[in-house]
Amino acid sequence: MLKILLARAHQGHRTMRYPDGPAPAMPVHFRGTPRIDTSRCPDGCRECAEACPTDAIAFTEGKPVVDLGRCIFCPECERACPEGAISYSSDYRLSVTSRSDLHVSPGEELRLAAALDAKMMSLFGRSLKLRVVSAGDCNACASDVNVLGTIGWDLGRFGIQYVASPRHADGIVVLGPVTENMRLALRKTYDAVPEPKLVIAIGACAISGGIYAESPEQHGGAQSVVPVDLFIAGCPPQPLTILDGLLRLLGRIEKGR
């Protein structure tokens, strides 16, 4: 018993101060929102689009538009660009309310997720119970969704909790591209959640099918089966990115932050 208490004293209080305090620092090579300096793009150059494994970069009127719902935040475009025009920023905020908001033109800021409306906020603002459905995720998204429950992040302090039954839930979190073999289970889980309910799609797979978008064994993400209220981009999204998204939905992050 004494050893347990000593260990407890030594390990200390480890819950981060965010969002009241500063956000934890991101690592040196962290890849947040990509930035493209189009003034450096040579005429007709398509190297980045060709290198992109998920075809997340499309050119409209000669300008590259990035679909952050497809982007897996890999280093390939950055490396392929002959002019160094693409770089990943340290901006971890990657949550939006509408799928189309994830298409970002150069110089355009991401339209970050809006808070729930007044009625939904009165229901879920201080208590949001979520059922997590992994539908073909590779366990990376699941791991970083799970980690928010550990003491460092302590999701419980925001009234958010993962629950063991859809009947206890206010909404579902969908991970993975929605495999053919999980389609029915996802639908049934959604149907079992009482109205009104929320759906949160986390990770490139759940938003667009990600790297598996071409596979006939999957359906291109959560929207193929259920309506989605919050999209959190990444592959997998950093835990901070996920937390930021959940807090924006609950209106816990001030505008402009």
Partner: protein, 501 residues
């Protein structure tokens, strides 16, 4: 293993034509001899379609001789004589072959779907492929009841379906039906490598990104004749051991949580994140995404950052040791860990367990030691074993391994060779085959790449350690209590997506 096989070292390529092509009965006899007489285990056994016929290729691994034996046969009809009755570790491989190619392993005692998908071959035979719908083994009796769990589970866990045949609290039998995570990776890789391939490797089992991507990179380097520089090998080793550290610490914490010992559960949940954040320091991703590529690694560790990394590693490891050591001194934990979920050493060998689960049964197999690759050819880690095959042994092996891995990473950080970190990797050689293995944190990761006339993959076979080990979990439950299932499950902590691909 004898002259009937083509012997190769880990990631040593061969011309496909040099792999002996035997009659089906001789193929069967050779594989049985290798497993039953020579102590080899089946590292992979899979089919491929060639000129309209189905060819079976077996890879047997001789842990003592550090050799991989390759052999093949071509089926003349739509069936072949099953190995499973004589060699149980073939069971899931044969079911997979049956599902993928629509051929029948005659005499297979447990022929059921693996991933519930339509066969790859045209024309496709009829039948439905509804996941979880199959003829589950049932125990009959007035007081026997069945408990069905999943596919969606109570926690943040991947999906799978479990059927328990119970008598009160006692479990007579557990059957595990997977396939819910099937994304069609092997089919998608055929015809590659494409720009997508390496990213599918990184997410084949997303908690084993380094283990799988390294196996892939080694295969392409072997086929492309590339020799990664020494510094790349060291950084890959650091990344692979950090992956092991994060997962082992996480598992030990989760095991503590499953027996309601919250101090270790809470501490380890955080410390796992410290190791993941160290992986992120290497390449920006907590899971090692974007780091390993054919030819080397894409990020260097600048000398100015080494001491800070070293310090963070030391702190995390000190905290981990303190947190985990509490387990062994707490009687209530030991009472729950010991003699729970036992797999005996005979069963372990028979069903072909690999990795932590095998070493917990006293079987000293470890790809880093038996088939050394990359940095492990120069720096040797002792193989850690325990001997009771129970939850406690599986926990204890992790505890021993995390200490060795931390020492290894510290050493590598101190002694990084002064070379570049990547070389060009040429196109894969045509008409070739290579077997590439690594020791992921769960165990043996085995990739087999076969190229055609143009150097493109005609078949790429991935075997995650979970593929070998899920049956071990089913056996561990026999005679146990149903309430021990979460604990047993966590002590194996197998991958659903790595199995389902």
């Amino acid at each position: 293993m004898d002259g009937r096989f083509l012997a190769r070292r880990n990631a040593q390529p061969a011309r496909l034509a040099d792999v002996p092509l035997l009659q089906e009965s001789a193929f069967r006899a050779a594989v049985l001899d290798a497993v039953q007489t020579d102590g080899c285990h089946i590292a992979s056994l899979f089919g491929r379609e060639t000129d309209g016929a189905i060819e079976l290729i077996a890879v047997v691994a001789s842990d003592e001789a550090s050799e991989l034996g390759l052999i093949r046969t071509r089926l003349t009809g739509d069936s072949f004589a099953s190995l499973t009755a004589d060699c149980p570790q073939a069971q899931l491989f044969e079911r997979e072959i049956a599902e993928q190619f629509g051929v029948t392993p005659e005499g297979h005692p447990w022929l059921k779907p693996v991933r519930f998908h339509a066969p790859w071959r045209e024309p496709q035979p009829g039948g439905t492929h509804t996941p979880g719908v199959t003829d589950f083994f049932r125990v009959e009796g007035d007081e026997v009841h069945e408990v069905a769990v999943g596919p969606v589970h109570a926690g943040v866990i991947e999906p799978g379906h479990f059927r328990f045949q119970c008598h009160g609290e006692q479990v007579f039998h557990l059957e595990i039906a997977l396939g819910y995570q099937h994304r069609g990776i092997e089919a998608a890789i055929a015809g590659g490598p494409s720009k997508r391939t390496v990213h599918m490797m990184e997410s084949a089992a997303g908690d084993t990104t380094i283990g799988h991507t390294l196996a892939y990179a080694q295969a392409l380097e072997a086929l492309g004749g590339a020799k990664p520089p020494a510094r790349a090998h060291a950084i890959r080793g650091i990344a692979l051991e950090l992956e092991r550290l994060a997962n082992h610490v996480g598992d030990l914490g989760a095991l503590a949580g499953d027996v309601a010992f919250l101090p270790t559960a809470s501490f380890c949940g955080r410390i796992r994140g410290d190791y993941l954040n160290l992986s992120a320091e290497l390449c920006g991703s907590r899971f090692g995404r974007g780091l390993v590529r054919p030819g080397g690694v894409t990020f260097d560790i600048e000398p100015t950052r080494i001491s800070a990394l070293q310090e963070r590693l030391d702190t995390a490891t000190r905290d981990a040791k303190e947190a985990v050591a509490l387990l062994w001194e707490t009687p209530t934990v030991m009472e729950r860990f010991e003699a729970t979920g036992v797999v005996d050493s005979d069963a372990c060998e028979e069903i072909g367990l690999v990795g932590v689960a095998a070493r917990a049964c006293g079987r000293a197999i470890d790809v880093r030691h038996d088939f050394p690759f990359g940095i492990y050819r120069f720096v040797h880690l002792p193989v850690m074993t325990a001997h009771h095959g129970d939850v406690n042994s599986r926990a204890f092996v992790r505890w021993l391994e995390l200490q060795r891995s931390a020492e290894f990473v510290a050493l590598q950080l101190r002694t990084l060779p002064a070379t570049p970190v990547r070389v060009e990797c040429g196109a894969p050689a045509a008409d070739s085959i290579v077997v590439s293995m690594t020791e992921g944190w769960r165990g043996e990761v085995c990739h087999v790449a076969i190229t055609g006339r143009d150097g493109a993959f005609t078949r790429y076979k991935i075997t995650d350690p979970s593929f070998h080990n899920w049956f071990g979990l089913a056996l561990a439950l026999r005679g146990g209590q149903i309430s021990d299932f979460p604990l047993c499950n966590k002590s194996f902590n197998l991958s659903y997506c790595g199995h389902d691909l």
